[in-house]
Symmetry: C2
Subunit: 162 residues, 2 copies
Amino acid sequence: MTQMPAEAIVQFDCHGTAVGKMRNELDIHMVQPSEEHFQMASDEGPFHGGDATAPPPLALFVGALTGCIMTQIRAFAKRLGVTLNDLQVDTRVQWNWKAVGRVYETAPRSFEIDVTIDSPDSIEKVLELVETAKKGCFLEQTLGVKNTIHHRIKTADGWLDA
Amino acid sequence: MTQMPAEAIVQFDCHGTAVGKMRNELDIHMVQPSEEHFQMASDEGPFHGGDATAPPPLALFVGALTGCIMTQIRAFAKRLGVTLNDLQVDTRVQWNWKAVGRVYETAPRSFEIDVTIDSPDSIEKVLELVETAKKGCFLEQTLGVKNTIHHRIKTADGWLDA
């Protein structure tokens, strides 16, 4: 993002449409700082009532988190003068799942990210790179704070806060 | 997840390998409660030094969040006896981006989810469905708390906490 001003807003929108048994068509737009369009889908396996035509949402999420920190490490390596011969990241995420009456409730349990960097530079420089990448990683910073999600439901009389 | 016990752990792992300019190959395993395997990739557009061969991590993330709440709404509609003729969800996520010296820092700014449900059932039942789905949605519950992410960096002498 070398062309960006000192401060900016980054925005991604997604329009999801339910199709099939559990498949969701996901139409995604990067709105700011530039306009880009991506199409993907989620589905579930047979044990969750789906047809396994696409990855489940949690697979997209773990891929997003891993890709985000890797992107930041690569982008910042150039800026901090750290040579990367190779970069591999292993992410493990666990959630708690609990049956509650007819439905269930969930909660995050643990996040672990193992970073393997092949670099001729000192371990101090590599550590500084990872530390800096954490602060630049949109998803790490998002997960590290308590976020409020605003919901609205469409009714015949307009939008209702939910 | 009708075959699950009263409590369970859900785990997804991802092995990411950096290839090309900014592309990451993402090899994802659902580890618990069942074993499944998914392959995807992330990349960046030219303005961020990539070749745009795959969606960026934030597109995967917004798709994951949208797919997760939609999956929960559909799964719980059956359990709560709410008829869904159609379901569409519009998600908007904004982040703040700020240049800091040679690098930058990021922070979440806003999360908005608009739910459009076509149902012959009462608005009260639809509202109860969405309320219940929020509690079952792994990613909404994850974003709603401050999470700690544990990092390790591989060194010649073993793993170093970062």
